[in-house]
């Protein structure tokens, strides 16, 4: 009888935290050239606090550049965002324990799969997690190469675009 109750309690505490307006940004700038960077502040993300599973999704067209023309080129020439409108990530935070979260950031390993332009790549990085009031703040960063996702950089601009691109994420999740 007791184990049934225990099971029921566990089921209830299997909580999900989420956001619809997470910030994902990338930097592909090379020193001495015009900065190539953009922000996407409408990223969706979900964290299952029972097992540390995470999933996030963004629309490529929602990336904002300072220069509108750069945004056009990004969508049309590099990301082909009419054909591949979404980019997503699915993964797991190793050793995640919701009870141990405090307002001091803890670092956990994060492993998962990033999918851009229909191509997937394994990502291994670290994630900083802290709990502030009723929010779970998840911050991470990792590096990718355009070639991993079949993004071709024409030789004429190759010097102006970094070979490795840094992707930074900042998600403030609330209880679903």
């Amino acid at each position: 009888m007791w184990w049934l109750l225990a099971l029921a309690i566990q089921e209830v505490t299997a909580q999900k935290y989420f956001t619809k307006t997470g910030l994902t940004e990338f930097k592909a700038s090379v020193a001495a050239f015009e900065p190539i960077e953009a922000k996407n502040n409408s990223t969706s993300a979900i964290l299952n606090t029972a097992n540390g599973q995470v999933a996030s999704l963004l629309f490529v067209k929602a990336f904002r550049f300072k220069v509108a023309l750069m945004e056009e080129h990004f969508n049309e020439n590099y990301m082909d965002s009419d054909k591949y409108p979404k980019a997503s990530f699915k993964g797991k935070i190793a050793g995640f324990d919701f009870q141990k979260l405090t307002n001091q950031a803890r670092v956990f390993p994060l492993n998962g799969t990033l999918t851009i332009r229909g191509k997937s790549k394994a990502i291994a990085t670290k994630v900083h997690i802290r709990k502030v009031d009723n929010k779970v703040v998840v911050v991470s960063s990792f590096w990718v190469k355009p070639a991993d996702f079949g993004i071709k950089i024409p030789s004429i601009v190759r010097k102006k675009i970094a070979k490795s691109i840094e992707i930074k994420t900042h998600y403030e999740l609330i209880k679903r």
Partner: protein, 135 residues
């Protein structure tokens, strides 16, 4: 005052180059299009648009839409219409004007169907009309 042929050519060249760089600069650094200035390609109720997206989400990619609906939820950055359409506002301060259950018209850009949270997502939204349920 008469100028030599050489300086006439020189001056006209200078003007052409100056004009060219101004036009070039304007083209490269053109501003982002504003939601307010763009024409909506879909005008209708939130419910109608929902139907459209279910069948042909690809067709409406990046389209500016104007939707009427009921506010079912609010958060820091946006409004949920009819439980299924999340509208992220251009100016998040505008959320304060709205209450749950209010009827409103919104103009924004359809960015896609979010299959993670199972909702339709718009960004750069502006509130074009607002009316409380009581009225």
């Amino acid at each position: 005052m008469s100028l030599s042929k050489g300086s006439k050519i020189g001056i006209s060249l200078l003007i052409v180059v100056a004009l060219g760089s101004i036009i070039g600069y304007k083209m490269v650094y053109k501003p982002h299009p504003k939601t307010m200035d763009q024409k909506a390609v879909f005008v209708g109720t939130a419910l109608d648009f929902q139907q459209q997206v279910v069948h042909r989400s690809q067709k409406w990619q990046n389209a500016i839409v104007s939707l009427k609906g009921k506010v079912t939820n609010l958060d820091k950055h946006g409004i949920t219409l009819n439980q299924t359409i999340y509208c992220q506002l251009e100016d998040s301060l505008q959320v304060a004007r709205v209450k749950t259950n209010a009827l409103l018209a919104i103009k924004g850009r359809f960015i896609g169907y979010d299959d993670l949270l199972e909702e339709i997502k718009l960004d750069q939204c502006i509130i074009t009309r607002l009316k409380d349920e009581k009225n």
